[in-house]
Symmetry: C2
Subunit: 132 residues, 2 copies
DNA sequence: CTGTATCCTTCACGATACTG
DNA sequence: CAGTATCGTGAAGGATACAG
């Protein structure tokens, strides 16, 4: 899996504080951001909070809404509300959001294809910690 | 940029706590992990700590050594020491490390190619925060 | 069902100073 | 030059209970 030549912008200042890659990683830094984007993408169309919550083991109601709010502010996710009792709420990716999902999908794909490698990394870690 | 069909392992349990993608993201969670891997890769061959430190704005000596130790334990980075005064130390990616660099490079590449999109995300965020 | 408000704990990170 | 030790802080995340 060899990589194509790097674009110019990449060569210029790949290490600066505010460079694009660092900003991207910062954006994905939160524990649930990528999970939620990825799930919204996989479920497709509009998703209700309950479904989202059930789809992501370990995710709490609080962290879900908090993360969704952040994604909303970034313009990656839209929230639709239909007043009723009980209320009906749906979340969906915006156009911008669908584009930002690309790198997330890359990561998920790569991770799934190289699970064995991650096993080795974990095994190395466990052995090293034990040797102390 | 359309994506190929998903591999089976990816379909099976993409949401579980211990699934490969989540482990990958967890591995990259540290603030400096990806930066250091990426830099070791770009510099190529063996790198001295000083050079590394100078290449990554904002990185402190402490966080550098700490992160390098972690990467060593994972088997991604090797440390060569030549006893002398002053001592000569070099870090290089292992075979495993060179493979694990792939997803990092993907992120950097994508980030660089879509800097404008990241600008929009940041602008959205700034506007939303200001509107409060 | 969806969302908010508190409280509390943890730990990742940074600043600083010191050793060989 | 490389590395360690120590202390302090903020922010992220989890548990719980409540509200519309």
């Amino acid at each position: 899996m060899s990589l194509a030549p790097l674009p110019d912008a990449y060569r210029q200042a790949p290490f600066d504080e505010g460079c694009a890659p660092r900003r991207l990683l910062r954006l994905f830094g939160g524990k649930w951001v990528t999970m939620i984007l990825h799930t919204l993408h996989l479920l497709g169309g509009a998703s209700r909070p309950g479904a989202l919550l059930r789809s992501i083991p370990g995710l709490s109601k609080k962290m879900m809404t908090q993360t969704l709010r952040d994604l909303e502010e970034m313009g990656l996710v839209a929230r639709d509300v239909r007043q009723a009792m009980p209320p009906v709420v749906e979340y969906r990716l915006t156009v911008l959001g669908r584009k930002m999902v690309e790198p997330v999908e890359m990561l998920y794909r790569w991770g799934a294809e190289h699970a064995a490698m991650l096993d080795r990394v974990d095994a190395n870690l466990a052995r090293a910690r034990k040797a102390e």
